[in-house]
């Protein structure tokens, strides 16, 4: 017997969102389809949701590119280095497809070029600077710990989170890295947004979470610059692998 849903159930349980993201189990999906066939409100919500899915990646990346033209980035990312796909890491567990793991490899970390400090340097800024010295010296574990301390002291969260996530990625703490990059994207429009998505995708690939990685890469791929093209190529590779 198919469960009977109300519109409130649909909203409360995020059913439209999960339906489109492919996160509903079969009985729930059947129940929702039986509901929306006779529900104009949920039909309209599906249309809105479909429009969001179609347009959100475009808007997000166009705005990011505009900002990039309008003011210099504080941080550059090693694109050429990042484009390397060779495996560097041995990953825990044996369930992740080795080819997926290889696509998640990163030869070189995101490049740090320095963050100018406005006004007087605070103790949090000093902690950040010390941690980034460790990062530049490739002592990523130390850098990640130092950045956590700097964050707790109140340093600007976007760069600190981004490079903490990058450090975690380089020492193969993929789950924590993915979560920390997620916190960067959760901040919204920052200069780190697209890069955070790309490197989060790398972490997700190492964890075998190909679907989520493709989502992140598709967002990053909407841009027409080198970063976008790289994301597109990586997304295509992952999709081809998943389809095989």
């Amino acid at each position: 017997m198919t469960e009977s849903l109300t519109c409130n159930d649909v909203v409360e349980r995020g059913i439209v969102e999960r339906y489109l993201a492919g996160r509903l189990d079969l009985p729930e999906a059947e129940a929702f389809e039986a509901h929306y066939l006779a529900c104009p409100r949920c039909q309209e919500d599906l249309r809105v949701a479909a429009a969001v899915r179609h347009n959100l990646p475009l808007v997000t990346n166009v705005q990011w590119l505009r900002r990039r033209w309008s003011r210099p980035l504080l941080v550059g990312v090693g694109l050429a280095a990042a484009a390397g796909f060779a495996a560097l890491f041995l990953l825990p567990g044996d369930r992740v497809n080795p080819q997926l793991e290889r696509l998640g490899a990163v030869l070189e970390p995101p490049v740090y070029l320095g963050v100018p400090v406005r006004g007087e340097q605070t103790s949090a800024d000093s902690l950040f600077a010390a941690a980034m010295s460790s990062y530049l010296a490739r002592r990523y574990d130390e850098a990640a710990r130092g950045l956590a301390v700097a964050l707790a002291a109140g340093v600007d969260s976007a760069p600190a989170l981004f490079f903490r996530a990058s450090g975690l990625l380089m020492i193969n703490r993929s789950r924590e890295s993915a979560e920390t990059f997620q916190r960067v994207t959760g901040l919204g429009d920052t200069p780190y947004l697209v890069e955070a998505r790309l490197y989060r995708a790398k972490a997700l690939l190492r964890l075998g979470r190909a679907g989520e990685a493709i989502t992140e890469l598709r967002f990053a791929a909407a841009g027409l610059d080198d970063l976008g093209r790289w994301a597109q190529a990586l997304a295509d590779s992952v999709e081809a692998l998943v389809q095989r």
């Binding site: 993201a21 039986a34 967002f219």
Partner: protein, 197 residues
């Protein structure tokens, strides 16, 4: 349900039935179009599937095969699944030289096919509305519609109270609905969603 159904008279124009008001039939038709489009990824085929399903559903209604009108959606969905599978097989056989295997595969759902029901003008309005949102609100929408997070999961992920997250999301979606309406999407029976659930 598919091959053994008795032949039925195919109605022209707006479907009418003594059992189901025409307005409800039109709602059903729109819903069937959405359902079919996910699998068939073609507007015309989806329209055909919706029409065929309605014809079969009406025949069943007139034959007294649906006792509870509240179950009409589930009943129509059951018919639609057969119709969609039939159309999918027919589509595969006309496009593939190797008809034997591919044609028998069930159609897979493509959620992004639904955007075909949104006109170019509506897409433009939605893009403008999305651009007017804050980055944090766009990220909230991304987490909702791409990662499929529930309201509670969103609150946990963003580290904000659930009520605030729900209000932000509700406001953002309302702006997008208005954008669709302004682009001429009207005509749907749409009532505001509650914002405090």
């Amino acid at each position: 349900m598919t091959g053994s159904d008795p032949p039925v008279e195919r109605p022209t124009g707006l479907l009418k039935s003594v059992d189901v008001p025409a307005q409800e039939l039109e709602v059903l038709r729109r819903g069937l179009r959405l359902l079919a489009l996910r699998s068939l990824r073609d507007i015309d085929l989806a329209e055909e599937a919706a029409q065929e399903t309605l014809v079969r559903a009406l025949a069943a209604l007139r034959g007294g095969h649906v006792n509870n009108p509240a179950h009409l959606g589930a009943f129509a969905r059951g018919i639609a699944c057969h119709v969609i599978a039939d159309l999918h097989r027919a589509q595969q056989r006309t496009t593939s030289l190797d008809a034997s295997q591919e044609a028998d595969d069930p159609p897979s759902a493509d959620p992004d096919a639904l955007h075909l029901l949104v006109s170019d003008e509506e897409h433009e309005h939605v893009r403008a509305a999305l651009a007017s949102l804050s980055g944090a609100d766009r990220e909230l929408l991304r987490l909702s519609f791409f990662e499929g997070l529930t309201p509670l999961e969103l609150a946990n992920r963003l580290g904000e109270p659930a009520t605030r997250v729900r209000k932000r999301k509700s406001r953002a979606l309302e702006r997008l609905r208005r954008a669709l309406e302004e682009a001429g999407a009207g005509g749907h029976d749409r009532r505001p969603r509650p914002t405090t659930q």
